[in-house]
Symmetry: C2
Subunit: 164 residues, 2 copies
Amino acid sequence: MKHTLSILVENKPGVLARVSGLFSRRGFNIDSLAVGITENPEISRMTIVVEGDDRILEQVTKQLNKLVDVIKVSDIKPESSIDRELALIKVEAGPKERSEVMQIADIFRARIIDVGTRTLVIEITGDVSKINAMTDLLRRFGIKEMVRTGKVSMLRGAKAVKEE
Amino acid sequence: MKHTLSILVENKPGVLARVSGLFSRRGFNIDSLAVGITENPEISRMTIVVEGDDRILEQVTKQLNKLVDVIKVSDIKPESSIDRELALIKVEAGPKERSEVMQIADIFRARIIDVGTRTLVIEITGDVSKINAMTDLLRRFGIKEMVRTGKVSMLRGAKAVKEE
């Protein structure tokens, strides 16, 4: 089963290596990882998507909690959260294909953020399935490059994963 | 100086730990990191923002290139790239504050993606300074939680950071 962990950590060198080391020693492959700043410049938040045995993941979570620089670990359940990912997609599209690609982008509420003579760059946000659906449609034009951020998650409503 | 590295790696357990270990052993703090899938399911792309001495970073880049699971490393220059980050921001806003917060979101072309009785969740994409500008405006309502993906970058025009 896939799990999404939201981990608050001290913003210090080596934290990322220690956290990712814990997963790799247990043979967990990290599907996606996003590390960004929070409202507090001394604290960063990692959002990690991993797939693996639930019992072993529980052990990993306990070990994460023991690391000095780890402040909080939460396993975010999909039914109570909002999930988003950002993708930049460079599509091969000259003047002839441009309008059709723009139409597809429009339907997915995506944005064109760069135009070249033979390419367009599209910015899309959404859950993984929405991004995959648009990518599938664009494939026949030719996808020159795709950069994705990995998923971030937030609990719906007033609850928050916070340090206190 | 800040650098943005775009690194193509084999999608295998342990790669992230080895890459992040290289940075931490040299005392580099990673500002942000985004790891996502590419068009090829066997290859992931890491976008790393680091600040530090240019000469040491060059050495780190050479060492990265020597790791078996690293396919390509590119130092992406800001003047020739498009940079984007995704942030989810949970703002304290009841019925009275809601319309003002929605107005601010609108100006920044951000989207409201969840509404609670006392909170709103805003999704925004943009470069770091745009996200910071909106965050600054929202602070007086109270920011309950912020999750950011870290920056991703893509070269403008037809060029791509590719495996071949």
